[in-house]
């Protein structure tokens, strides 16, 4: 069933910062007339999506947008002869924009690609470098605010984060599948359906929306990933396997499944890539990072099936499921699309994905009706009001920063010339272990991740590292979002102390 279109709940450009962002970006698009927009992850993308959701007049279809994380998936020819606009919301040192230029330079060493590039950064810190003089001579640049002092910069960041939270944070990412449901029964019934064989944590996001984290742990064989669709040496336990459920309107929620198996860097590890190929092309011809994200998208379909099965098992009277449709328009007047995925998965065959979601929905409906009426052992359900989650989220952030700082120091003690690589974060398994130290259930720790990411305190990256079995794998890692957040957390820890045991 395709949902009727609902206007976005919070119009980003009704907030002052949203108006400024909209005015800045729309005028840049109007004057520069880009044929390609490169959005710098994560907030650059989120801001663009928030603005696009609000206005059809922002002329940048998703097919002309590419995420900074997947630049390597296009050849040099793709970028040549394009008028490129690189967009980011904020700049301190300029490292993110520099990374974009480094990637483009690696793709096209001849430098032809740099002939028509403009960098548009909404707000620049007083210490920010000028891209044209310090990064790539010849490029043009634009800004809305520049030379912001640290307090002013921090306030601008807070205003943007607040706007993104109001617009639904996670719903603004471009890497996730989304299915919508309208709750017809009571909210507790909805939770019970989602938590039929999963751990459920509810909390309220900074934007005041109800959020649900539905965690599928490794103990239930029903929630094992189908290894036939994965590379031989993929890691499928101790990873993120969950469905985020975010409130859109009073009774409408977005179901966002996520799953991030650790994927081997060696492309020949993939013996049976048929399922992947069908959706995303030949994995053996893609970069390790691209394969990681592709595998995640594929695996998220399994998670979606588990979530839908729970809803269908509860019956039509609890919730109605609405699936995405195909449309050339990003925001069609009725229904919704997954066109935003084009920015993150350039090789994605969107029609096939939509079909696959339809098949999964049908299977989940059949499986759900088979088990309807059968009781499942109740798993944990926690509400933020009883769990003091926000305090715990902050504690987790403190400890993540502390552990990473210790690692940095350890490396520097061994080799004083060592420079911190980017990214430099903790894997989900390592963060779960930190939660274990506090005696938190993994579902709770998982919800704390979500809160910190929604608050833009924690950021996710993909990092390659060698495991104990000697295999090099790509994994999702988490680290505090930039030096500003890191310094805040460090100052907090110095003045108020670290949790016991650290």
């Amino acid at each position: 069933m395709v949902a009727s279109c609902r206007p976005p709940q919070v119009r980003a450009h009704t907030q002052p910062i949203g108006q400024e962002l909209y005015s800045f970006l729309s005028s840049e698009i109007l004057t520069w007339q880009p044929t390609l927009i490169i959005v710098v992850e994560r907030r650059g993308t989120a801001v663009l999506r928030a603005l696009k959701e609000c206005s059809k007049h922002l002329m940048c279809p998703w097919q002309d947008v590419v995420s900074s994380r997947v630049l390597q998936q296009h050849s040099a020819d793709y970028y040549r002869n394009k008028r490129i606009l690189i967009f980011d919301d904020m700049m301190t040192g300029g490292s993110h924009v520099r990374e974009v230029f480094d990637s483009l330079s690696a793709i096209d060493p001849s430098g032809v690609v740099f002939q028509n590039i403009r960098v548009a950064v909404f707000a620049k810190h007083e210490s920010a470098v000028s891209p044209s003089t310090h990064i790539q001579p010849g490029v043009t640049e634009a800004f809305f605010y520049r030379a912001l002092t640290t307090p002013a910069y921090r306030n601008t960041r807070l205003a943007i984060v607040s706007m993104l939270q109001s617009a639904g944070s996670l719903m603004l990412d471009t890497e996730h599948i989304e299915v919508r449901v309208r709750v017809k029964g009571t909210f507790p019934e909805f939770l019970a359906a989602l938590g039929r064989k999963a751990h459920v944590i509810t909390f309220q996001s900074g934007g005041g929306r109800r959020n649900i984290t539905v965690l599928y742990d490794d103990s239930d064989p029903a929630h094992e990933l189908d290894r036939r669709t994965l590379p031989e040496n993929a890691i499928t336990s101790g990873i993120v396997k969950k469905c985020r459920v975010v409130e859109r309107a009073g009774d409408e929620f977005a179901l966002i499944p996520m799953c991030y198996p650790g994927t081997p860097d060696d492309p020949t590890d993939w013996r049976n890539p048929a399922a992947y190929e069908q959706l995303l092309g030949d994995p053996r011809k893609q970069s390790g990072e691209a394969r990681f994200y592709g595998t995640a998208l594929l695996s998220a379909l399994s998670v979606l099936q588990w979530a839908l099965k729970g809803l269908y098992a509860a019956g039509q009277e609890v919730a109605t499921v609405y699936l995405p449709g195909m449309a050339a328009e990003d925001n069609p007047p009725d229904g919704f699309t997954l066109n935003h995925l084009r920015a993150m998965y350039p090789t994605l065959k969107l029609e096939r994905l939509i079909d696959a979601i339809g098949v999964i929905d049908a299977e989940a409906a059949r499986e759900g009706s088979d088990v309807r009426g059968r009781s499942a052992p109740p798993l944990s359900q926690t509400d933020s009001s009883s769990g003091n989650l926000r305090q715990n989220a902050w504690t987790l952030l403190q400890v993540i920063r502390h552990v990473l700082d210790n690692r940095i120091q350890e490396e520097k003690l061994f080799d004083p010339l060592w420079k911190r690589p980017h990214p430099f974060g903790l894997t989900a398994d390592e963060v779960f272990a930190l939660g274990d130290h506090f005696g938190w259930q993994r579902a709770k720790t998982s919800a704390l991740f979500d809160m910190l990411i929604d608050d833009c305190h924690l950021v996710t990256h993909v990092m390659k590292s060698a495991d104990q079995d000697g295999i090099c794998r790509w994994k999702r890692v988490f680290e505090p979002d930039g030096e500003m957040v890191s310094d805040l957390v460090r100052m907090y820890s110095v003045q108020r102390g670290l949790p016991d045991g650290f």
Binding site: L158, N388, R390, L413, V494, Q495, R496
Partner: protein, 421 residues
Amino acid sequence: MDSEQIGPFEAYRGLRRAHTGTQLERVFRALCYVLHQWCVYPSSGAPATSVPKRRARHEDKGSSDDGRLLLLEFDKLINIVCRMWDKMFQESGLKILDGIEGLTQEELRKIVRFQPPAQEFPGTHGPGRARRKAGSDDLVYLTRMAEQLVEEGFPYFAFEPRDRMGSHSDEKQRDGAERRLKSDEPHKWVVRPGLAVGDETTFWGGAYTQAEIDLIQRTAIALSRLGPTEIRALGTHKDQRGTMEEIRRELRWAHKACERLACALQDGRLGIGDASRLREYAHEARRKAILNEDYYASAYETMVRELSDAQLKGAFQAVQKPPSLVWGHEDIQKTREKVGLAVGVADYVYGIAFFSEHPEELSSRREGKTAAGHSFEEGLESLRRLGIAEIPGSLSAIVEGNTGAIKGPAAERLRALLKDI
């Protein structure tokens, strides 16, 4: 602080205005006091005239306690004081931090208002308190900060070379040492209090609450009963998790040194620098996994006995776990086996690396009399005890006498051995 206040936005506003400079000044002054108390307390090895009326510190089995504290040991004394200070702050000041300005003088007397503004980070010789340089990944340890302060004319402490009074001191060498950073060679420098304590009321100068003074005085009294090695052990360890992490870190470093050595072996060489570092890491791991336990136990017992104030004793016991909880865990017991192997390999390899670098020492048949020769013999013996078979038992079977190159079959065996760490 209410939990809801620590939200994404409140965190920015909810931070206490940091008076870091003032806090650091007070911490250094307090540490100077603690060190003063330790130095004036009669040590087991000091002349009997020093403070005849008081009982001397019980004998510290680790080293000769001549009443001098090395910078390395002082670094660990800082850890102990700061851990207790942190805890006392969390028990009192932290709970009312945001309303601290509205307190009466009487209420203020009873609380510790802040904690030392430095955190424990890994260091070359175990953890140490440090602060991060703004906008960088570099840390400044408090010992280094104390040294800088002396250079800038704020002598909270005084530093002197360890061997100044020794019979083998070499003026030239000492002058060279003077120019190097003391905090880079903390085992070569003795630290003494730089401020005169004299009248205590004047010393505190109204800058501390009564609770803070009590904390410092009582901690100082208890710590003055510990010998230098006990201080080092107590300041290095506090719980099982941290100890395990310390040991694993040394083993990780040892592993990295092994990788470099294995790489060098492809050219038939063993770098003496990396071999020396491997040995340092392995022995440090042994100290943390095995040797420190006894010193920690006696230090722990002494502190519990000497801390008469129940609240302070509780704080101590909260931040320093009993030795059985630190070393009793199965994981540490398992790690001890690994450490034993690492020490054996490190000693053995160091001996070989030395003679590979100095093959002339081999031909002069002095190898058995040198420190490196002893290291080789000890390593060999340890490895044989551990049941490691097929390892060459003589240096001449490993090192080419004229070039110092490692012979092919021996290099193969060494590479396999290095892989085991």
